[in-house]
C-alpha cells in the first residue's frame, strides 16, 4: 500500500505540524467526550437520588385559582387540605395500589437539655405504610405513639441515636418523642423529604396539632409502574368539574422523565459547546492538508504523469487526514476519561458514575466525531490535489 506509506512518511516528515493539528483533535475529543461524561454522570446522579420515588403518584390539594373548595380559594396553601372523603375516593380509584395519607407540618424542637432551638419538618403517616415509603438504617419501624423516626442527615447533624429524646414545640408544649429508628438516606424526592425531618404517627400529630383527617397530601404507591393511568383516574374522579378542581396530581415518573429530558438537553448543549473546539480543530486539519497539497504540487504532477489515477492521489491525502484523525481521536478518547474523572470528582464529588455504558457511548461519539471531522476536512484538499492539471502541476516550482 504505497500511498498509505507515503502518507505516513509525510506525517513523519512534518512531525511538529502534524502533532499540533493532532493536538487540536485531541482537545476537541476531550471537550466533547468529557462534557458528555459530565452530563451523563449528572443524570445518573440525579436518577440515583430519585429512583425511589419513580413509582409514586402524589396528590395535593388544588391551589391554583378555582372556587376554593377547601376554603383556600387560591389563597395560602397552608389552609388547603385533602378531606377524609376525598382520601377515601382516591383510595378507591387507586386500588389495588396503596394510598398513603400524609400529614405534614414544621415546628421548633430541642434535643436534650440546653440544646439549641431547631426547626424541622414533621410528617405523620400510618405505621403500617411506613415500610412502603422508606427503609431504616437503624432501629425499628414500630414507633408507638410517642416514638418517632428521624432522617439520616437530621440524626447525623444532631448526633441522634435510637433512644434519643426530642421535645417538640417552642417550649416543649407539644410533648416529647423518643427516637425509635433512623431512616436510610433517600435524597431528593417528590413525596416527602425524610432526610432532614421526623416521622411520627398520625395519632400523635392529630393530638398535638388538633388535626382531624385533613391531610396535606396523599401518596399512591403504584406497583405495576403505570403511574400515568392512576394519575388520570384520580383526576377524572376528583376533578370532574373543570372550574372546580379539588386536587393536583403529580406523576413522579413523568416528572422524572421531564427532568431527564432537561438534563439530556443540557448535556447536548454543553457537548455542542465542546463541538466548537472540534470545528476549530477541523479548520486546523483543513489548513495543514491544504499546506500539504500546496507543498507537493510538483510531486502530484509527477505521479499523475507516470500513471497515478486521480482516486489514488486523493486516497494519499485522505490517508494522511485519517492517520491524524484516528491517532488524535484515540488519544483524545483516553484523555477524556481522565478529564471526565477529574470533572466528576470536582463537580459531583463522586466518580462512581464514570465507568458506565453512557460514558463508553460519550467517548465513542467523541472519537467518531473526531475521525469524521478529520476525514471531512481532508476531502476538499484531497479532491483539489487529484483534480490538478498534471501539466500545470509539473511546471510548478
Amino acid at each position: 500500500m504505497i500511498f498509505w506509506e507515503i502518507a505516513k512518511r509525510n506525517i513523519r516528515l512534518h512531525f511538529l505540524r502534524s502533532t499540533l493539528a493532532m493536538l487540536g483533535i485531541v482537545i476537541g475529543v476531550i471537550a466533547i467526550a468529557s462534557m458528555g461524561i459530565l452530563g451523563n454522570s449528572l443524570v445518573a446522579s440525579v436518577s440515583d437520588n430519585l429512583k425511589s420515588v419513580g413509582d409514586s403518584v402524589i396528590v395535593t390539594p388544588y391551589a391554583g385559582g378555582g372556587s376554593g373548595h377547601f376554603g383556600g380559594g387560591g389563597g395560602s396553601t397552608a389552609s388547603l387540605k385533602i378531606t377524609d372523603q376525598n382520601f377515601q375516593q382516591i383510595k378507591r380509584v387507586a386500588a389495588p395500589n396503596k394510598a398513603i395519607p400524609v400529614y405534614s407540618t414544621s415546628d421548633h424542637m430541642k434535643i436534650g437539655v440546653g440544646s439549641d432551638d431547631i426547626v424541622a419538618a414533621i410528617y405523620a403517616l400510618p405505621s403500617d405504610d411506613v415500610p412502603d415509603m422508606m427503609k431504616l438504617q437503624a432501629g425499628d419501624y414500630n414507633n408507638g405513639n410517642s416514638g418517632c423516626l428521624v432522617g439520616s442527615t437530621f440524626a447525623k447533624d444532631h448526633n441522634l441515636k435510637v433512644g434519643s429524646r426530642i421535645s417538640i414545640g417552642t417550649s416543649g408544649d407539644k410533648g416529647a418523642l423518643r427516637v425509635t429508628g433512623i431512616i436510610e438516606e433517600r435524597g431528593m424526592s417528590f413525596d416527602i423529604s425524610t432526610d432532614n425531618s421526623l416521622i411520627v404517627t398520625p395519632e400523635w400529630m392529630e393530638n398535638a396539632y388538633n388535626r382531624d383527617k385533613d391531610y396535606d397530601e396523599v401518596v399512591v404507591k403504584v406497583k405495576d409502574g403505570d403511574t400515568a393511568t392512576v394519575k388520570t383516574n384520580i383526576e377524572k374522579q376528583l376533578n370532574k368539574h373543570k372550574d372546580n378542581k379539588i386536587v393536583s396530581v403529580m406523576d413522579s415518573k413523568a416528572t422524572l422523565a421531564s427532568i431527564y429530558s432537561t438534563f439530556g438537553m443540557v448535556t447536548t448543549f454543553v457537548t455542542a459547546i465542546g463541538g466548537i473546539s472540534m470545528i476549530v480543530a477541523g479548520v486546523s486539519i483543513f489548513n495543514i492538508m491544504m499546506m500539504s497539497v500546496n507543498e507537493r504540487i510538483k510531486e502530484i504532477g509527477i505521479m499523475r504523469s507516470i500513471g497515478t489515477q486521480k482516486k489514488e492521489v486523493m486516497s494519499m491525502f485522505i490517508y494522511e487526514a485519517a492517520i491524524i484523525g484516528i491517532i488524535g481521536s484515540i488519544i483524545g478518547g483516553i484523555l477524556s476519561l481522565l478529564a471526565g474523572y477529574a470533572i466528576s470528582a470536582l463537580m459531583l464529588n463522586s466518580t462512581k458514575y464514570l465507568f458506565t455504558l453512557a460514558t463508553a457511548i460519550s467517548v465513542t461519539e467523541g472519537v467518531a466525531f473526531g475521525i469524521v471531522i478529520c476525514l471531512a476536512c481532508g476531502i476538499y484538499p484531497a479532491w483539489q490535489a487529484a483534480n490538478m492539471n498534471p501539466i500545470d502541476a509539473l511546471r510548478h516550482e
Partner: protein, 225 residues
C-alpha cells in the same frame, strides 16, 4: 504488430484560447514514430516543443487532429484510460529527475509497478532494472537526495523502464547535468535504444541531439524538417 507505428500524429493542432486572442501552439502537425527509433525534437523556445511532448505523453489532448499510440486512438479515451496508457506504454524522463523524496531508490523504481499491479511487488525487478542502468547496488536503499544528479537520472530512467513501455519520452534529460555525466546518460540511452527501446527526446543541445538517429525540427508550431 511491429508494422504499427509506436506513435502517430495526424494533422494535430493545439490552440490555446486566451483573452488577447487564440494562440496556436501546434499547427496541423503530422509525423509517425516507428518501433526502435531514437528521435530528437529540437526548436527554439516557444516553438511548440513542450506542447508536442505533452500531447505525446497523453497529458494533454489536441484541439483538432488525431494521435495514435501503438495504433490506439487517444482522442476518445477517458482520463482513467489515458492514465493507464501513460502507466503501461509510456516512460517519462524529466530534466529535474523528479524522483519522490519520501521513497527510497527501490521504492521509486517500483512505484509504476505498484500502480499497475495494485499490490506490493517483487523488488527484484526494480533491482534488475537499476543494475541495467548501471547504478551501484549499495545505493538502492538510499533516498534520492543522497544521490548525485547523474545517479538520480539513472534512477529516473530505471523508473521509466520498469513497466516495459513502448516508448520513452525524455524532456532535456541531460539539461541539469554536467557534460561528462550527461554524456554517460546519453551513452546509456543509446544502449537502451540499441536493445530496442523507442526514444523521443526533446533537447536544445545539438551535441545531445547527435546521439539520436532522426531529428524533428519544429518552429512556430510546425515541423520544418
Amino acid at each position: 504488430m511491429d508494422d504499427i507505428p509506436v506513435m502517430s500524429f495526424e494533422e494535430v493542432s493545439k490552440i490555446y484560447p486566451l483573452p488577447a486572442g487564440d494562440v496556436t501552439a501546434l499547427d496541423r502537425v503530422s509525423f509517425q514514430v516507428d518501433r526502435g527509433e531514437f528521435i530528437s525534437v529540437m526548436g527554439p523556445s516557444g516553438s511548440g516543443k513542450s506542447t508536442l511532448l505533452n500531447l505525446m505523453g497523453c497529458l494533454d489532448t489536441p484541439t483538432t487532429g488525431d494521435i495514435y499510440i501503438s495504433g490506439t486512438r487517444t482522442g476518445d479515451m477517458s482520463d482513467v484510460e489515458l492514465t493507464n496508457l501513460r502507466r503501461d506504454r509510456i516512460g517519462f524522463i524529466f530534466q529535474y529527475f523528479n524522483l519522490f523524496p519520501l521513497l527510497n531508490i527501490i521504492e521509486n523504481v517500483t512505484f509504476p509497478m505498484v500502480l499497475k499491479s495494485q499490490h506490493s511487488v517483487d523488488p527484484e525487478r526494480g533491482r534488475e532494472v537499476l543494475r541495467s542502468v548501471q547504478l551501484e547496488e549499495k545505493l538502492f536503499t538510499h533516498t534520492p537526495t543522497e544521490l548525485s544528479g547523474g545517479q538520480q537520472q539513472r534512477v529516473a530512467i530505471a523508473r521509466a523502464l520498469v513497466n516495459n513501455p513502448d516508448i520513452l519520452l525524455c524532456d532535456e534529460p541531460t539539461g541539469n547535468l554536467d557534460s561528462k555525466t550527461g554524456a554517460g546518460i546519453m551513452d546509456l540511452m543509446t544502449e537502451l535504444n540499441r536493445k530496442g527501446t523507442t526514444i523521443i527526446m526533446v533537447t536544445h543541445d545539438p551535441h545531445i541531439a547527435e546521439y539520436s538517429r532522426r531529428t524533428i525540427l519544429i518552429a512556430d508550431g510546425r515541423i520544418v524538417s
